[in-house]
């Protein structure tokens, strides 16, 4: 989706047994929606950083992870395994299952991980990767998602609005 477009609404089950839609995050001035999964090594490389970021900004920013992968081909990404990973890793954000893949299609998502940062009006202000170094957290120079969050919390426009996501492709159903 294009920068400036409005977030698409959804109704998806979370690993906590609840069903989530955009209205559940309406009290937060920033929404970070990201496509995620269990099996992808890029997700694993970024996992700790995302959990820390969500803990740091959780009182002001809604973080929402969505897994759209086809679990018939990639059983690690099944709903049951999502529940296990979320519990083991202590995810501080809802982890939702997009079984029909309709949400991934609506957002034109293609990778895991892939981040969409929305402002209070739920218009897209940043799209792409978390930062510029998946391999070495201590050598990151540009924290794109963090910078976008900080800008939006200060009612400013992020300096960078798009950096192509890096990661595994979303595993579409055949």
């Amino acid at each position: 989706m294009e920068i400036g477009q409005s977030a698409y609404d959804f109704e998806l089950p979370g690993v906590d047994g609840k069903t989530y839609s955009l209205k559940d995050f309406a009290d937060k001035p920033v929404l970070v929606l990201f496509f995620w999964c269990n099996h992808c090594p890029y997700v694993k490389a970024y996992e700790e950083r995302v959990v820390q970021l969500a803990k740091e900004f959780g009182d002001r920013v809604a973080f929402v992870a969505i897994n759209s992968n086809d679990p018939t081909q990639y059983p690690e990404d099944s709903f049951e395994n999502m529940q296990k990973v979320a519990q083991e890793k202590g995810y501080p954000f809802p982890y939702l299952f997009d079984a029909t893949q309709a949400v991934a299609h609506a957002y034109k998502a293609s990778r895991t991980p892939e981040f969409f940062v929305f402002d209070g009006e739920r218009d897209l202000k940043y799209h792409g990767r978390l930062d510029d170094n998946w391999e070495h957290p201590d050598q990151v120079r540009h924290e794109y998602v963090r910078d976008a969050i900080m800008s939006l919390l200060q009612n400013d426009i992020p300096h960078v609005s798009h950096v192509p996501p890096i990661g595994c492709t979303i595993k579409w159903k055949h």
């Binding site: 992808c40 090594p41 694993k44 081909q73 990639y74 990661g167 595994c168 492709t169 595993k171």
Partner: protein
């Protein structure tokens, strides 16, 4: 020595994987033929016993084999020496594998 790098082009790690292989060979002072095999289909994944990209085999021995995983088109996870999970092996893992193969 013969090294095979099998990759799925939709996974972005293969170019760096090839660089790492060449760096490891140079640092170990070893010359080797590096065969690069592109995997595009599930049929090829099964034919080449490919569980993800990149798959690296040194004299037929796979770096970090994961026998429980199915053959499929995706990125592959390596566990580094420090326990971190990553889409690529570290340079030192590759160097050690080359040394072990030379010695063996």
């Amino acid at each position: 020595m013969r090294i095979e790098l099998l990759y799925y082009p939709e996974c972005p790690s293969h170019e760096r994987a090839l660089e790492l292989i060449h760096e490891a060979l140079a640092q170990e002072g070893v010359s080797a033929e590096v065969a690069v095999v592109r995997i595009d289909t599930q049929t090829q994944a099964e034919q080449y016993r490919f569980i993800g990209s990149p798959t690296i085999r040194i004299d037929g021995r796979e770096l970090q084999p994961q026998l429980h995983l199915p053959y499929r088109l995706t990125c592959r996870t390596f566990q580094r020496e420090d326990g971190r999970l990553a889409p690529l092996p570290s340079l030192s893992m590759l160097r050690e594998a080359i040394r072990n193969s030379e010695g063996g």
